[in-house]
């Protein structure tokens, strides 16, 4: 046998690789050594991680604010808080009918074909349902806002003004109904996928996204100066539900299958987001620091949305998560 130094080194490496499965060091680092010891096929992802970029968590954030603002506007209209109703409808229209579609279109690989979203109606595709919900919401929110503003400015004669008031009520009701769906469907969207950390939490996600949307909408309106007990109550409610969800998330662990939520940087995103929307917002609100509670909730709602997308990328790239989830 050739006993040159390089041959001996090669033998050493082979021996080490055989014993430990991996050879450390550059140049000799044949991934996993001669016999692969990585999970799955050389540690390659089994499912594909999401291709979505920053637009999508931002869309979830603004969609939640817009959708739930319409719900608050509906409550405000019913109970004669006209100024609040107008502010809420402006928020709903800007966040839900302008920013949301722009972000959603920006995220497409081929943005000029965004209208193809309305080519079919597929109730088994959450993305298709979302496109239709966003369209219906946008139409109702914009129509409701116009009717409400025309009515508030009293520019038309008596009967027409009555009609405008009626139309505003109908459209704002429609915006409220589609708004609740706009804020919650996004949880279904990522919950009904092949990404383990997402589908294992498919019941938590719509509750979290919807509640974060409601709390964020109330927070935006409070920061705009509408300090009324009803919004404070909604702030308490949302922060309390978020606290409960934080506990749920820390109790209902699925081991390797959803470790992206509990380990890695993505896990920190989720935890920081949940603490800001949950316990911190609750405490701040309890002690009367309402603007700070509102800011804490808004930041947390955005961070946790970014966290859930980051979790999807980590979880989707982790073959062991997929295998572990399927063993459930």
């Amino acid at each position: 046998m050739d006993t040159s130094a390089s041959e001996q080194r090669l033998e050493q490496l082979r021996e080490k690789a055989w014993q430990e499965g991996v050879v450390p060091g550059r140049g000799v680092d044949v991934a996993g050594g001669p016999i692969p010891r990585k999970p799955g096929y050389y540690g390659e992802p089994v499912v594909k991680p999401p291709v979505w970029t920053w637009e999508v968590p931002l869309y979830f954030f603004f969609g939640g604010i817009g959708g739930m603002s319409a719900v608050i506007a509906f409550g405000a209209v019913l109970f004669d808080h006209v100024d609040l109703a107008r502010a809420a409808m402006w928020t709903a229209a800007i966040a839900g009918a302008v920013l949301s579609p722009i972000l959603l279109i920006m995220d497409l690989g081929r943005p000029h074909r965004f209208l193809n979203m309305l080519r079919v109606f597929k109730h088994r595709s959450a993305m298709s349902m979302g496109a239709w919900i966003l369209t219906a919401f946008g139409a109702c929110a914009v129509a409701g806002l116009i009717a409400l503003e025309l009515h508030a400015h009293q520019i038309s004669p008596g009967t027409l003004n009555q009609l405008l008031s009626f139309a505003a009520g109908i459209f704002i009701f429609g915006a409220a109904i589609f708004g609740t769906l706009l804020a919650t469907y996004t949880g279904v969207l990522i919950g009904a996928t092949a990404i383990p950390a997402w589908f294992l939490h498919r019941t938590l996600l719509p509750i979290h996204f919807g509640t974060a949307g409601l709390g964020s909408a109330a927070a935006v309106l409070e920061l705009m100066g509408h300090r009324i007990p009803a919004l404070n109550f909604l702030g308490f409610y949302a922060a309390a539900v978020e606290t409960a969800l934080l506990i749920w998330l820390s109790v209902a662990k699925h081991g390797a299958a959803d470790r992206a939520i509990h380990e890695h940087g993505s896990g920190w995103f989720i935890r920081i987001g949940e603490i800001l929307t949950g316990p911190l917002a609750l405490i701040l609100r309890f002690f009367g620091f309402i603007p700070w509670a509102a800011i804490s909730f808004l930041v947390g709602a955005l961070v946790s949305r970014m966290g859930w997308i980051a979790v999807g990328k980590v979880s989707g790239s982790d073959p062991e998560s997929v295998f572990a989830a399927e063993r459930y």
Partner: protein, 287 residues
């Protein structure tokens, strides 16, 4: 089958599209020689752009995984296990331990219940006359939802600056060739007929016989990978595998994500109704 010459289902012309016959691929690693002709033929016929020349260091596999620009992928498994009744001796790794090199050409599975097809919001992804799953590139707007809906991690969005970037791509089952009565490019060129194209029912029968034959030869861990019992309800491109599916990066129990819709929508509707009621109560009690 080998020995049938031009009468093999891999070579002769057919009319499956016209006759609405369900077709499939049966891929058998025990006769694959790892030549990657399927990868090359696929790229050539379908004008699939290159997606980078990188050395993975994973055996002879520098393709890595299926994706928007990789529709066939030959896997190279190195396992410390015996292949059939192979005799192990001084030539095998570790002097006396068993060692085997397994090649398997991976491809889109063309699921009976396809996650990508269900998820597609534009109707770009359709099922063809032969039961395969096809992406209409002129309709796809690149929303990326099919990418996370595929339980096998096959379909992907093609990044810029590659040609036709932004859309989702995967194996077409050579739908264009099939319409002209031709065999898909990968099966046509496969020199050992490791990839067999044909009628799905014929292939399933043939695959069962092949597994029995191999087990008789001592391939004790030979099995079919065709998830008929899960919500995917079977795949049109199924595989014979040696050992566990995990080693091939194949999910052991793939599920079509639409089965999660019911519980997710229930939670969404409950949250929607709760939000409406709580908001109205908040105004009612504070007014």
């Amino acid at each position: 089958m080998i020995g049938e010459g031009l009468q093999s289902s891999n070579q002769r012309k057919h009319s499956y599209v016209r006759d609405n016959v369900e077709v499939g691929f049966f891929t058998d690693p025990t006769v694959c020689i790892g030549c990657k002709a399927c990868e090359v033929a696929c790229k050539e016929w379908n004008h699939v752009p290159d997606d980078g020349f990188t050395w993975t260091g994973n055996s002879y596999d520098n393709t890595g995984h299926l994706g928007a620009s990789t529709w066939r992928h030959v896997m190279f498994l190195e396992q410390d296990r015996q292949k059939g009744s192979q005799i192990t001796g001084p030539m095998s790794l570790g002097d006396h331990d068993p060692f085997r090199w397994v090649f398997l050409s991976d491809v889109c599975k063309h699921c009976e219940e396809a996650g990508c097809l269900e998820a597609c919001p534009t109707g770009s992804i359709v099922r063809t006359e032969t039961g395969t799953v096809f992406v209409q590139d002129d309709v796809c707007n690149g929303c990326g939802y099919c990418v996370v809906s595929c339980p096998f991690g096959v379909i992907d969005r093609r990044p810029t600056p590659l040609p036709d970037a932004g859309g989702a791509f995967k194996c077409t089952f050579c739908y264009d060739r099939q319409k002209s009565g031709l065999v898909p490019a990968c099966a046509k060129v496969c020199p050992t007929e490791s990839i067999v194209f044909g009628r799905l029912d014929d292939l399933r029968t043939r695959a069962k016989e092949r597994v029995q034959h191999l087990q008789g030869l001592g391939y004790n861990d030979a099995q079919l990978y065709d998830p008929l019992e899960t919500s995917v309800r079977g795949i049109h491109a199924f595989f014979l595998i040696l050992g566990e599916p995990e080693a091939y990066g194949l999910p052991p129990k793939p599920q079509v994500p639409t089965i999660y819709l019911e519980s997710a929508w229930t939670a969404a509707f409950a949250t929607a109704i709760a939000s409406l009621i709580v908001t109205l109560l908040a105004f009612a009690f504070s007014s």
